[in-house]
Structures are given as structure tokens and as C-alpha cells.
């Protein structure tokens, strides 16, 4: 139907909310990046060789995934709002939750084993 493909700019409040959500994802990525660098610089070398670097690498890798995924997410949400369609599903939240869980479990194991 032609009515479904019509595009019009949504209420600017929704546009700005989408923009702020994008910026929040970018900040989360920057926070993880800083966390990874801090782990590498400030944590003393652990008994398992290379474990500190691996933990830092997981943090920075998750930051890269979030930064890479934040732009398509913003664009798809903007497009859906312009077309009056429901917002698309995004796996970014699941990736973030699983990633932080992995990092936390990893850090807990390292702390116990020293």
C-alpha cells in the first residue's frame, strides 16, 4: 500500500531522543574502551600470563562492537519513525548484557585464582 511507504519527519522530540540514545551507546563504548585501557595499565600482572591483556582485549572488543552497531541502530530507528513503522529489533542490548557478563565472570575468576 502506498500509505505505508510514505515518509515524513517524526515529532522532533522522538528524533532528539533517538539521537541521545545513539550518544548514550557511544558513551558506553567509550567507557568500555577506557575500562579496557585502565585494566591493561593499572592492574598488576596476574599469575596467569596474558590474562590481563585478554581481559583488556575483551573490554575493547566489546567497545568496538557497540560503536560499530550504534550507527545502524540510530539509522534504522530514524527510518522506522519516518515510515510510521514499529521500531526494529536490535540485538545490541543482548550483546552488551552478554559481553558485560563474560567480562565480570572472567574478572571474578582472575581475582579468585590471583
Amino acid at each position: 500500500m502506498a500509505a505505508e511507504q510514505e515518509e515524513s519527519e517524526p515529532d522532533y522530540r522522538f528524533t532528539l531522543a533517538n539521537e541521545r540514545t545513539f550518544l548514550a551507546w557511544i558513551r558506553t563504548a567509550l567507557g568500555l574502551l577506557a575500562g579496557g585501557v585502565a585494566v591493561h595499565q593499572l592492574v598488576p600482572e596476574l599469575s596467569v600470563p596474558g590474562a590481563r591483556t585478554a581481559l583488556a582485549a575483551v573490554c575493547v572488543a566489546l567497545a568496538a562492537v557497540l560503536a560499530g552497531g550504534s550507527y545502524p541502530r540510530w539509522r534504522n530507528a530514524q527510518l522506522a519513525m519516518r515510515r510510521g513503522q514499529p521500531l526494529p529489533r536490535s540485538y545490541l542490548i543482548l550483546v552488551l548484557a552478554c559481553g558485560v557478563l563474560v567480562i565480570t565472570a572472567f574478572a571474578a575468576v582472575l581475582m579468585v585464582t590471583g
Binding site: E9, Y12, R13, T15, L16, A17, N18, E19, R20, F22, L23, A24, I26, R27, A29, L30, G31, L33, A34, G36, V37, A38, H40, Q41, G50, T53, A56, A57, V60, A61, A63, A64, A67, G68, S70, Y71, W74, R75, Q78
Partner: protein, 104 residues
């Protein structure tokens, strides 16, 4: 309700500022590490982070000005959001590649 609507552009402008500040903190941390290691492998992510911070500060400032002027602000340009996401992604990838190399 009217005052609530009027605060939206201000909140968005502040969100840009916060993001630029987070990028600046990240740059300082990378620069700290690079200085300790003698500016070898860590130079590339530090330079990218500095470029990213500068870009975010400039884009955020322009966006905040545009939001203050327009009563019905449209979305930011694709180039703006894309550039911000790409710079953070590139910085993370550069940091990731130099992590093993930074190990003494």
C-alpha cells in the same frame, strides 16, 4: 508541557558535550599509557582518540547551536553520526591491535 519540550534540545546538546568529555577522558588515559611505554605502539590509538575528541567537540558544538536556533530541529546529518561511530570504532580497533604489542 511547553517547558518540557523546550528542554529537549538543551538535553541533547548536553548529551553531545558529555560524549565529547568521555572521549577526552579516554584520550587522556591512552596518552598516559603511551607516555609510560615511550610512545611506541600506543601512538596510533592515542592520535585517533584525540582526533575523535576534537571531531565530537566540533560536531556537538555545531549541533547545539543548530538546536538552539531551530524551533523544530531535524535529525543530525548522516555524516555526523556516522563519523562519530566510525571514529570510536577505529580507536577501539587500533587499541585492540596494539594491546599485545604494548606488553613489555
Amino acid at each position: 508541557m511547553t517547558s518540557q519540550e523546550g528542554l529537549q534540545p538543551e538535553r541533547t546538546g548536553l548529551a553531545w558535550q558529555r560524549t565529547a568529555l568521555a572521549a577526552a577522558a579516554c584520550t587522556l588515559l591512552l596518552a598516559h599509557g603511551a607516555a609510560q611505554e615511550g610512545w611506541r605502539a600506543a601512538t596510533v590509538p592515542t592520535a585517533l582518540a584525540a582526533l575523535g575528541t576534537l571531531t565530537m567537540a566540533v560536531i556537538g558544538r555545531r549541533r547545539a547551536h543548530a538546536l538552539r536556533r531551530n524551533r523544530m530541529p531535524g535529525p543530525p546529518g548522516r555524516g555526523q553520526t556516522g563519523a562519530v561511530a566510525a571514529l570510536v570504532l577505529l580507536t577501539a580497533l587500533a587499541a585492540l591491535l596494539t594491546l599485545p604489542g604494548a606488553q613489555p
